[in-house]
């Protein structure tokens, strides 16, 4: 006799990232409350919401820089909730930072090289770090400025250095925190194409971005975070029609609501 399982049997492999019930409190402030999220491999998933909604806190929880009071984080089916930040990075989670965290005293190339070297050291396999650094410099379009010190670079370029550094760890999941701020319109479009290409190669991308146009064009699924809660989830088209989202954004400012409604 078999007892029927209350949950539907999952078909296929586990999703790349599966977050459930994450709570974070800072003193009396509830920064995240019962957040659930799924990020599949091979796609770009968007996370939008007003400033202070908890997007960066959520990133910190996923990559291990912030402890959560409750909740589980599964990477490719394995529970990583108790792991340290560097261990999660070795399991395949890479990220960029909204407030830049570049190695400012080093050149763009060394930023990427050090990440490739660290990966090679613990993985004991993979391409030669130096060749890998050159390949990634080319990929993110920094070849011509490889030998510049990053502290002296404009913000937009420094963000690309962070992206390159994240890619050099050979990640499975890439968390991008407002990567396009500091880029102009055509550069943003270029950046969007790069993201689509990375996802097509199998990378799972979670994108926090204020540039709604970019979000709508590259994301296959969107989550809306507001006051630490997931307000809505769905395809970009569904999100645009969602009355809750529109109300939330109307509460914040008409312009943002128009942007959401107006795109597409």
């Amino acid at each position: 006799m078999t007892v029927p399982s209350p949950e539907p049997v999952r078909s296929g492999p586990a999703p790349l990232l599966e977050v459930s019930g994450v709570d974070v409190r800072f003193g009396g402030v509830q920064a995240l409350q019962g957040v659930d999220m799924t990020v599949p491999a091979g796609t770009v998933t968007g996370l939008i919401g007003p400033n202070g909604a908890g997007k960066t806190t959520f990133f910190n929880v996923v990559c291990g820089l912030q402890e959560a009071q409750a909740g589980r984080i599964l990477l490719a089916g394995g529970d990583i909730s108790g792991r340290k930040a560097y261990q999660r990075a070795r399991l395949g989670i890479a990220r960029t930072f909204q407030r830049l965290e570049v190695f400012g005293s080093m050149t763009a190339r060394d930023n990427i090289l050090v990440a490739a070297e660290v990966h090679r050291r613990w993985a004991r396999t993979g391409p030669d770090p130096s060749a890998e650094a050159d390949r990634i410099l080319d990929l993110v379009g920094l070849k011509a400025r490889a030998e510049e010190q990053v502290d002296a670079m404009p913000t937009g370029l420094a963000r690309l250095v962070e992206l390159g550094r994240a890619l050099a760890t050979a990640p499975k999941l890439l968390l991008l925190d407002e990567p396009s701020s500091g880029l102009d319109e055509s550069e943003s479009e270029e950046f969007g194409r790069l993201l689509t290409r990375l996802a097509a190669d199998g990378l799972g991308v979670l994108l926090v971005e204020h540039d709604i146009e970019l979000v709508m064009s590259v994301c296959s699924r969107l989550y809306v975070l507001d006051f630490g809660r997931i307000l809505a989830a769905g395809t970009p088209a569904e999100i645009q029609r969602d009355p809750l989202v529109r109300a939330a954004y109307l509460g914040v400012g008409d312009q943002a609501a128009e942007e959401i409604a107006g795109v597409g």
């Binding site: 560097y86 830049l100 913000t155």
Partner: protein, 641 residues
């Protein structure tokens, strides 16, 4: 029973004095964000000034007291903030640390020059006489200390909760920028807090002096006890700080009463450090350090060929020196080189890795100890042990202090150095405090000089090679942003422990060579203060370059020679102190200035060197964030076509 009460009274009084000095430290730290290592030195200087007024110039005691505590101390505090501290807002910890340590040395040197320690000075007793409470003798002085401390504590409480100025101070602590936007001036507030801090330091210095003779070093190092109390208060909370100070006073007093004398002389002075260590270790885990924009151009690391060339040149120079220098000058030159080895360890640890250590001389002392104690004092085995044992201790220390960062790491290494002075060096450096240390290989003065020079050159080339390689990149990355290091899968613990171990090994070797060069060592050679001077010297020379260590070593060696030719006493202390203070404006040090000049010459010569354009966003704001500079340049994602 009476005895216990008596010790409790003494402990309470001591605790009140600690509370006074620690409160001043906390007030300045919270409002200006700069930990004032010179806090005790300011108190010391003011206590001497008070002596000058009251005893030297026969001013009435109340007048002298009021003049110092209410006028001179706040004025100097405000002046120090304006001239020395203000350029430091937003600077890296390393720089604020070196500048305030520089102020400490400067005040120490000045006080020593103005009031030569050849005569003993005692402060006039303000309230002579005593009375009895429950048959416990209490002096009026003790009563006065209690009353003053309670008054100060109540006054501070009132200031911070009921006055506009005090509330602004607390607001600055919470959010500097927001306070500025609300119309208050954070800079003015910080200046006020430095004036207040200096007043409290003066009060503590004057009140504690009657317990001992006026002594520059003791009064300055009194603040080390204050550090412990302040850390109990997490450098923020005044009530907790006062509680820590009282606990410390009571523990010390009861230790004096009940520990056997021989044990007491060792453990007594180390008690505050023990508490400091415990208070540091029970702190909750700190966040990983984040990137800050220094606006500083990093220097190119020397390639292998030029570094080999320079190393060869240096050895040749030493060979020539060993022939031409008089025995006396040869001794100083050689001392510079052996200490240069210790300084190399700081270049690696602090310069490249950003881990501030105030205990490198302690590790060097362990090296000298191994060398001198093992197998006759002149064996290769001893030399190996002189590297291995300090390296092991360094690794152990790293594991213990691993979770500490910034100011807390610096304080922990300071506590380690200070405790080792009493627990180890005063005891185990041979009979009568002297340990004979021999040499390996070359025995003659000239031969050993060349041997030490070769070792310095080899280590210098090695440190540079380490910096150029993969480990050096990880070290530089660690210095830039720990959060980013974790995000790329770097095991920060492993890198930190490794660099502590390697640096401690180098320092140990330096200590063994130092012992061999002098022939003998004593506890004075490895005091905490020497570690501080060494760190300041390397920073002056340029802490992120091997050349900086060399420049610092030569300066250290020849400062006694310079001293002989100039009339100012304490030349070394004053020069290092003043130099460190001015470092706040020129963080690169001597080597940095040299390389700037070299770059300019290269540019003028027309060769395409490193461009010396200023960083795009060179301004540093309080939060340390990139100041929102939008990209002015065209960004092309060329590769994604």
């Amino acid at each position: 029973m009476n005895l216990i009460l008596s010790y409790a009274v003494v402990g309470l009084v001591l605790g009140c004095l600690y509370a006074l000095t620690a409160s001043g430290l906390v007030v300045t730290y919270t409002t200006s964000g700069i930990f004032n290592f010179a806090h005790g030195a300011i108190g010391m200087f003011m206590a001497f000034t008070y002596w000058q007024l009251a005893v030297g110039w026969h001013l009435p005691v109340p007048l002298a007291l009021a003049l110092v505590v209410l006028v001179l101390a706040p004025l100097s505090g405000a002046l120090i903030e304006r001239l020395i501290v203000r350029p430091l807002y937003g600077a890296s910890l390393g720089i604020t640390l070196v500048v305030t340590l520089g102020l400490l040395l400067l005040l120490l040197g000045l006080a020593d020059a103005i009031w030569p320690p050849v005569t003993t000075r005692q402060l006039p007793s303000i309230f002579p006489g005593q009375f009895r409470v429950f048959s416990v003798v209490v002096t009026f002085y003790e009563l006065m200390v209690l009353v003053v401390s309670v008054a100060v504590a109540v006054g501070l409480r009132f200031l911070f909760t009921h006055t506009r100025v005090g509330i602004t101070m607390r607001a600055v602590v919470d959010d500097r920028d927001l306070t500025a936007r609300a119309g208050a001036s954070p800079v003015r507030t910080a200046q006020l807090s430095w004036a207040l801090g200096a007043s409290l330091a003066a009060l503590a210095g004057i009140l504690i002096a009657p317990l001992q003779y006026l002594d520059q070093f003791n009064l300055t190092l009194l603040v080390v006890t204050g550090y412990a109390a302040a850390v109990v208060g997490r450098l923020r909370s005044l009530p907790l700080t006062v509680a820590g100070a009282l606990l410390l006073g009571l523990v010390q007093s009861f230790a004096t009463g009940y520990l056997p004398t021989n044990l007491l002389s060792d453990i007594g002075p180390a008690i505050p450090m023990g508490l400091l260590f415990i208070a540091l270790l029970v702190r909750r885990q700190e966040r990983l350090t984040q990137a800050r924009l220094t606006g500083q151009r990093s220097r190119r690391v020397l390639d292998l060929k030029p570094s080999l060339f320079l190393a060869g040149g240096f050895i040749a120079l030493s060979v020539v020196m060993s022939e031409v220098l008089s025995p006396g000058n040869l001794l100083t030159y050689g001392q510079g080189i052996v200490l240069g080895v210790v300084m190399l360890s700081l270049v690696l640890l602090t310069g490249y890795g950003g881990q501030v250590s105030l205990c490198q001389m302690t590790l060097a002392g362990l090296g000298a100890f191994c060398m001198g104690k093992i197998a006759g004092g002149n064996s290769l085995l001893g030399l190996v042990a002189a590297v291995v044992l300090p390296a092991a201790v360094g690794g152990l220390l790293a594991l213990v202090v691993l979770r500490l960062r910034g100011i807390y790491l610096a304080l922990a290494t300071l506590a380690f150095a200070y405790s080792m002075d009493y627990l180890f060096f005063n005891h185990f450096l041979g009979f009568g405090g002297i340990l004979a240390v021999g040499r390996v290989a070359a025995q003659s003065q000239k031969g050993f000089l060349v041997e030490a020079s070769v070792l310095f050159a080899v280590l210098g080339v090695g440190v540079l090679a380490l910096r150029r390689g993969s480990f050096g990149r990880r070290l530089a990355a660690l210095n830039d942003s720990e959060a980013a290091c974790a995000s790329i899968g770097m095991n920060i613990t492993a890198v930190k422990v490794t660099v502590f171990v390697v640096a401690a090994g180098i320092a140990g070797l330096g200590g063994a060579l130092y012992g061999g060069w002098q022939g003998q060592v004593g506890p004075d050679d490895f005091q905490m203060l020497t570690s501080l001077i060494l760190l300041l010297l390397v920073t002056l020379g340029g802490i992120d370059t091997v050349g900086g260590a060399f420049a610092a070593a030569i300066f250290y060696a020849f400062s006694p020679v310079i001293q002989r030719h100039i009339p100012i006493s304490n030349f070394q202390l004053l020069a290092v102190g003043a130099g460190a203070i001015f470092l706040g404006r020129n963080p690169g040090g001597f080597a940095g200035q040299l390389s700037l000049v070299a770059d300019r010459l290269r540019l003028r010569a027309g060769s395409a060197g490193v461009p010396i354009t200023a960083p795009a966003a060179s301004s540093v704001d309080g939060a340390g964030s990139r100041s929102g500079a939008p990209s002015g340049e065209a960004v092309r994602l060329a590769g994604s076509h």
